[in-house]
């Protein structure tokens, strides 16, 4: 899914926080990014410095682009959905309007769009739903049917804002604790939905365990599966080789960089079984 020069539209900028709202356990944040918004596509991510000038945290954090608007009242803007988990994301969530944050982006691959109309299912776990709404809009404008399935451990961890739902033909929720939607793991609900909606292509984003489960189903149904993976990244721009994902290769395993050949990758190419990877190395 790489074409042309690596990260050819990427740049480093100082992005001003123009909105920061708590939505359930997440923060929906909007940043003024100027031209960076122009080339940002669903699936791309930005890499952000955290902790301020004297920070002991020397690495950037990656965040999927939730939405990019190239012309808003403040010029181009990029929106993120941030889960305050560790110190870096907490710091980001604490930024106030007017503060500047250092961005590198847009980075990585984008979701591929079918050339002919197709019934698409978009599957998101937790904040993994973030990049799917812009994707849904794109697919809908192409004339695709878009069925969205969002899951999380519990109701308030599902990120599904009203305006995001505009573009979907159906929205199914699942929670591990049954607090909303279908009770159970997201993958349990999917086979039935694929049959019901006549799904032809699957897009997914969420924890690696969920992606693996979704891929298993996609392969059973023989569907194209594009998933946005999440592996620890040190650089985000392809120079450190920390973010690799094992894919199938004639000589066994090949490790490819998820920041360059991902985060959106072909699910069928990924070796999901960790034991197989460990044995193969």
């Amino acid at each position: 899914m790489i074409s042309g020069k690596i990260n050819q539209f990427a740049s480093q900028i100082s992005a001003e926080v123009i909105s920061n709202k708590k939505v359930g356990p997440y923060h929906h944040m909007v940043f003024a990014v100027g031209d960076m918004a122009i080339h940002s596509k669903p699936g791309n991510f930005v890499a952000i410095s955290v902790g301020g000038e004297q920070s002991s945290q020397i690495l950037r954090r990656a965040f999927a682009i939730y939405r990019a608007l190239d012309k808003g009242p403040m010029g181009g803007s990029i929106e993120l959905v941030v889960a305050p988990s560790g110190q870096g994301s907490k710091w980001l969530c604490q930024r106030s309007i007017g503060e500047a944050v250092d961005f590198v982006g847009p980075l990585g691959t984008a979701f591929g769009i079918p050339t002919v109309n197709a019934n698409a299912m978009l599957i998101g776990g937790g904040y993994g739903s973030a990049p799917l709404f812009a994707l849904a809009e794109l697919l809908k404008n192409k004339g695709c049917r878009v069925d969205m399935v969002l899951g999380a451990s519990t109701a308030n961890k599902i990120y599904a804002p009203l305006e995001g739902k505009r573009s979907v033909s159906s929205l199914t929720l699942t929670t591990d604790d049954g607090s909303t939607g279908i009770h159970g793991q997201i993958s349990e609900a999917i086979p039935r939905l694929i049959r019901e909606y006549g799904t032809e292509v699957i897009y997914s984003c969420g924890p690696m365990g969920m992606l693996a489960a979704v891929d298993k189903i996609a392969q059973e149904f023989n569907l194209v599966h594009q998933c946005a993976v999440e592996e620890s990244m040190a650089c985000g721009i392809g120079v450190c080789m920390t973010c690799v994902i094992p894919i199938k290769h004639e000589d066994g395993i090949k490790m490819v960089r998820s920041c360059i050949e991902g985060p959106v990758m072909d699910g069928s190419q990924i070796i999901w079984d960790r034991k197989a990877v460990m044995d193969g190395l």
């Binding site: 020397i58 590198v104 120079v239």
Partner: protein
């Protein structure tokens, strides 16, 4: 502001300025060229290349630590053939200065790599990464023993011919760095690269297991800068005529100057690039300003300045 002669020399080769990338932190340059022109910095030091293609280690391969990080890549790479076919021509086309880093699992492999590289046009020096496990000797790292370190450098010297300068990259995890430095200089190294990462480990207190799939990893970043400065100072004191490519936690022009004052003739920027893709370029500019502010007209006057009496 008067002009500065910013050039530096490693062995017989001259570089337009002393800021290089660090091996393994810039791949083969292509990715960084999106952020600054590679010709702006002194040289690109490529990721250590081995004879055969390597898959490297399982993930997670990195862990952030206070002012630093651990990595455990396991020298993933395409192997020397693909490297010579794809990476070098691209770099040459960009007119970037290139230092090729090589790594082997045995003394012979280093020899093979040197032979493959001896007549490749467009290469300015060879960096010999001897901080690798020696599979023939219970995985002990070559750089941890003066004898194995000597054997590697001799093998490279024999195979490289007289043209390309050899820079031996040493590990800081030794009792007596001056002894190892002396050994590789005797074996024919024209310069030294100091320092490689320190061996470290992070345990994830949630899973209660080592965080990296490879358990241990190499510690880099500003956390280790005081160790780098100490080692460069000690080695420059012992061998003032051997050029040192300094590295370890350099994130600003000030940091680069610190290593230079300790005795470095050039400075490689590694981990800082992960936080700032333009790091090497910015550091070069900051260093130039600093040297001018301090009244230097020739960069080389700053090398090892901290050793001179007041």
């Amino acid at each position: 502001m008067s002009a500065l002669d910013f050039s530096t020399k490693i062995g017989s080769k001259r570089f337009s300025n002393p800021i290089f990338t660090a091996s393994g932190c810039a791949s083969s340059g292509q990715e960084l060229s999106q952020f600054f022109p590679l010709t702006e910095i002194g040289a690109i030091v490529t990721k250590s290349i081995m004879v055969k293609a390597r898959t490297g280690r399982a993930t997670p391969r990195m862990a952030e630590t206070p002012s630093g990080m651990l990595n455990s890549i396991g020298l993933q790479g395409p192997g020397i053939d693909t490297f010579l076919e794809k990476d070098i021509p691209w770099l040459v086309e960009q007119q970037a200065k290139v230092i090729v880093s090589i790594a082997g699992e045995s003394v012979d492999e280093y020899g093979v790599l040197a032979r493959r590289l001896r007549s490749v046009p467009g290469i300015s020096a060879l960096e010999v990464n001897i901080s690798c496990p020696n599979v023939e000797n219970r995985g002990q790292v070559f750089a941890c023993n003066p004898d194995t370190a000597t054997a590697v450098i001799e093998a490279v010297r024999r195979n490289i011919g007289g043209e390309l300068p050899i820079v031996a990259k040493l590990s800081p995890d030794v009792t007596d760095i001056v002894e190892i430095a002396g050994a590789v200089i005797n074996a024919g190294a024209d310069g030294l690269a100091l320092i490689n990462t320190l061996l470290g480990m992070v345990i994830d207190t949630n899973t209660m297991k080592p965080k990296l799939a490879g358990k241990t990893g190499g510690l880099s970043g500003p956390a280790i800068r005081p160790v780098a400065v100490r080692i460069i100072y000690q080695v420059h004191q012992a061998f003032p005529n051997t050029p040192i490519v300094g590295m370890g936690g350099v994130a600003s022009g000030r940091d680069a100057l610190e290593l230079i004052l300790a005795g470095a003739s050039a400075v490689s920027v590694g981990t800082a690039t992960f936080g700032n893709p333009k790091a090497a370029f910015d550091i070069k500019n900051q260093l130039e300003m600093l040297l001018l502010e301090k009244g230097f007209t020739d960069f080389r006057d700053a090398i090892g300045f901290a050793h001179r009496g007041i």
